[in-house]
Structures are given as C-alpha cells and as structure tokens.
Amino acid sequence: MGFLSKIAVRSPWLYRINAGSCNGCDVELATTAFIPRFDVERLGCKYCGSPRHADIVFITGPLTLRVKDQALRVWNEIPEPKITIAVGVCPVSGGVFRGGHSIEGPVDRYIPVDINVPGCPPRPQAIMEGVILARELWLRRLEKLEAGGGERRAALS
C-alpha cells in the first residue's frame, strides 16, 4: 500500500458549490472542465457528483443568506484533507454584491479557504492555475498526513 501510493500519481476529484453565484463563474468552471480547449482532466482532475468523493472544492458566489446553511452542510460532507478554492470575486470579498442585505460572505468568514481565483468571472486559464496550486497543496497535505501516521489518518477518515 505504501509503495503503491508513492508511485501512483494522485488525481484529485473536483466538486463545485454554488453559494449564490450569478452563474458567470459556474459557466467558466464548466468551460474549464468540459470543453476540449481547456480540458482540466489533463491534470488528473475530474468532476464528481457527490461531495463525499471530492478532494478539491470550488465555491462560487457571495454566500447568500438563502443558501448559506445548505452550502456549509455540503462543504462539511467533503472528507479531509480537502482544498477549497474560491472562484470569482464574489466568494473572496463579496465583489459587486458586497454590503448587500442578503450577503453573508465573504466565504472565508465561515470556511477556511485555501486558494483564491479572483475575476468576474476569471478566465478558464486562471481557474486552471488555481487548480494547479490546489493540487500541489493537496499533495503536500496528503504527504503530511501519511507522515503523521495512522492515528491521525484514522481520526480524519
């Protein structure tokens, strides 16, 4: 097992939470993943349908009051070690919606964000740069977990 996991290139699975986004960023995320021009699967990444299978999670939108509880519940379903990427200026700071009456964000008030990709929306290449950063961070965290021994792994699994 130890040998196998060393030689295997790890492939993080991606998941996407829409926390009240205008859909602009979600379209760019879909573009990044599903059209062959950008093709994020070359980096070993793949979208998955269930939060419990995910390693890297994208959050879009300014975390509206309406969606806050659901978004946080889904985020909590994702197993550790997970990497959270805030995509667009909305989750990072509130963006053009900052100060709105129904805006609970920025997202890092509730969730420990690891990577930010600002833009309104960011272009697919910028999102890919975010995924590359996230993948490195994720691999580092995995290594740390493995070095930490079975105790912590059991606690986290």
């Binding site: 062959p36 309104c120 290449q125 740069e129």
Partner: protein, 180 residues
C-alpha cells in the same frame, strides 16, 4: 469509405483543439481586461474612478502627514469591468493583460495596486495642491492666453488672484487682496 473514417482522417489532420496551457503560455487577446494599473504621474486625484467603480475596489485616502494621498486598487473585489479606465479624464488608470490572479489565501490582502501620489506646493503661497498634468492644463487653457506652465504651479486661490490681476479687474477702490 465509411463516414467515421472520413471524420477520423479530418480530425487527425486538424490536430488537437486543446490549448497547450498550462504547459505553455496561454493566448491572451490584446484587449483582454486584466489587473488594473495606475500611473501616479498622471493621476489628478479627481476621484471619478472611485465613484464609478461597481466593485468598490478603489480607495483614495490622504496620508497621515497630509503630504499626498494613497491610491489603492484591490484586485480581489475588482470586476475588471474597465469603468475606471473609461471615465478617467487623464487616462491615468488602465487595465493590463495580466490575468494571473490565482493566489494562496495568505496573499489575499496583498493583491493590490498601491501608489502614493504626493501633493505639489503652490509656488506662490505654499499650500498643498493636487497635480495638474501639463497635457491636461494645455487642453483646459487652449482657448486662453494664459501660460499653462505657470498656472499649474498655483493653488486655486492664487490662480484666481493671478487671473483677477491679469484681467485688470482689481479696482483701486475695493481693497485688493494682497498675495501673501
């Protein structure tokens, strides 16, 4: 020939449609709106950009010693809309082609374009004045005989005085304000 073979041959000839990025530099259109850059040598401090910015990304603040003002654009709330560039009267603010925005959370508050723009001193009374670039002054005074080079070094009060003197509107009867 079966149809799928034709398609296969065509696709082989066309080559991959996937961009080489991230292994090579990505194509960026020349008019792409990336990070905001500001030229502190041109800014007149009018504040129009702050007023029109939909993301509230621009902040102008007088420095503690009141010798100038700080000009900050926070890229984490900028929508890259280009309104600031459109409305800036002196083209001091523009958008670059730099779209490399992804960063770690620890750098969140360092994604800023930050400048300090010092005030000038009025050549007559020494008061603080905001800069008036020569090109803009030339445009403003294009229809008048005033020398823009001298007028841009005066504060508004002294400018008024100079104009009044020049136009000969200072009457002997009314007490003429003396230049300090």
């Amino acid at each position: 020939m079966p149809r799928f073979l034709k398609i296969l041959a065509r696709n082989l000839l066309k080559g991959p449609s996937t961009e080489a990025f991230p292994f090579k530099e990505a194509f960026t259109p020349p008019r792409y709106r990336g990070k905001v850059v500001m030229n502190p040598n041109l800014c007149v401090g009018c504040g129009i950009c702050t007023h029109v910015c939909p993301g509230g990304a621009i902040m102008m603040k007088e420095s503690e010693d009141q010798n100038g003002y700080y000009f900050m654009v926070w890229h984490n709330t900028c929508a890259f809309c280009g309104s600031c560039r459109h409305y800036c009267p002196v083209k001091a603010i523009s958008l670059s082609q730099d779209w490399h925005n992804a960063h770690y959370q620890s750098e969140k508050y360092r994604m800023v374009e930050h400048h300090f723009v010092p005030y000038l001193h009025c050549s007559s009374c020494g008061a603080h004045i905001r800069r008036l670039p020569p090109a803009l002054a030339a445009r403003i005074y294009s229809h008048s005989s005033v020398d823009p080079a001298t007028i841009i070094r005066l504060c508004p009060d002294c400018r008024q005085l100079a104009t009044a003197k020049r136009e000969g509107e200072v009457h002997e009867s009314s007490p003429a304000p003396q230049q300090p």
